[in-house]
Amino acid sequence: MAGREERDPDAELPLTPATFQILLALVGEDRHGYAIMREVAERTADAVRLGPGTLYGSLKRLLEGGLVEEAGERPDEALDDERRRYYRITKFGYAVARAEARRLEAMVSEARRKKLLRPRPA
């Protein structure tokens, strides 16, 4: 869609935790729905578990918002179920994820400054 690159990523913030986790899961690799669920669960040591409904509801909104798109090709068609769709983060989605990461980083810095958190040992 023309002009999507000109959109301001900050206008999409704050992201819901589920949305941010999905975008993080798609950074660097196209994945199908269940692979996203599994990646999020593994990366967060099961602290965040996305259910199928939450996942696809979020994916629908991410697709509509142009943050995610369907990947054209499948990694291995022979081994995969043809009903699966693979999803890819867009440039705009990447910019939004980065803006959200910066926002969270600023909040954590503020928490450190207020001594809610101690700096991690080097």
Partner: protein, 201 residues
């Protein structure tokens, strides 16, 4: 790669009917696949697994229903000038009728006989006048039309609740005038607001 669905999968596919049709048509197959994979990796569908699935459905299905309703509202035709005039005329007529009805009630002795408290009848008179004023504002395309009409509609609905607590019987005509029309007014102005919001997005 397709294989017959297990009983758990069939139950989940039935539960998918909680989602709107379009969402199910678009993502139903993938939802089923994700369920199948999650069930396999969990080593079967025990109570804990099903609790997670039901909680996920309880969170996401209403959200999708609301999202579908909002999208439907945004695609409806915007209220036109003719619609505004029609609603304005109806508001004037119904407002005047309600006000006259309250005056008749006062003069006919309904209040004296204890059928209705004086405060309720006076409130009906004021709200009838308010609805009438809202109708005039709508006909005159005043900027105060929307807030006046919405205030009047909400106040009428509140009055109905109040009247029903002290006077349980209400005729069909009264219900239409005091419930259906205020609701129609609220929806009418919500549609206009939805369209404006969609237009500026």
């Amino acid at each position: 790669m397709n294989r017959p669905a297990s009983a758990d999968e069939r139950v989940y596919e039935l539960l998918l009917h909680l989602y709107p049709d379009r969402f199910r048509a678009e993502y139903g197959a993938e939802l089923s696949l994700a369920f199948r994979d999650a069930r396999r990796d969990a080593g079967g569908a025990d109570i804990r697994f099903w609790t997670g699935i039901v909680l996920d459905l309880a969170r996401s299905a209403p959200a999708e229903r609301v999202s579908t309703l909002c999208a439907y509202r945004d695609h409806l035709s915007p209220p036109t000038e003719t619609h505004m005039k029609t609603m304005g005329i109806l508001a004037v007529l119904i407002g005047a009728l309600q006000a006259v009805n309250a005056i008749v009630e006062l003069s006919a002795g309904g209040v004296r006989d204890g059928a209705l408290p004086l405060s309720v009848v006076l409130l009906a008179l004021v709200l009838g006048a308010l609805l009438l004023a809202a109708g005039v504002a709508m006909l005159g395309r005043s900027r105060r039309a929307a807030p006046l009409a919405q205030l009047s509609a909400v106040a009428w609905l509140g009055l109905v609740v109040l009247v029903r607590t002290v006077h349980p019987w209400m005729s069909i005509a009264s219900t239409i005038l005091a419930v259906v029309f205020p609701l129609a007014l609220l929806i009418f102005f919500q549609l206009g607001r939805g369209r404006r919001a969609a237009g500026t997005a």
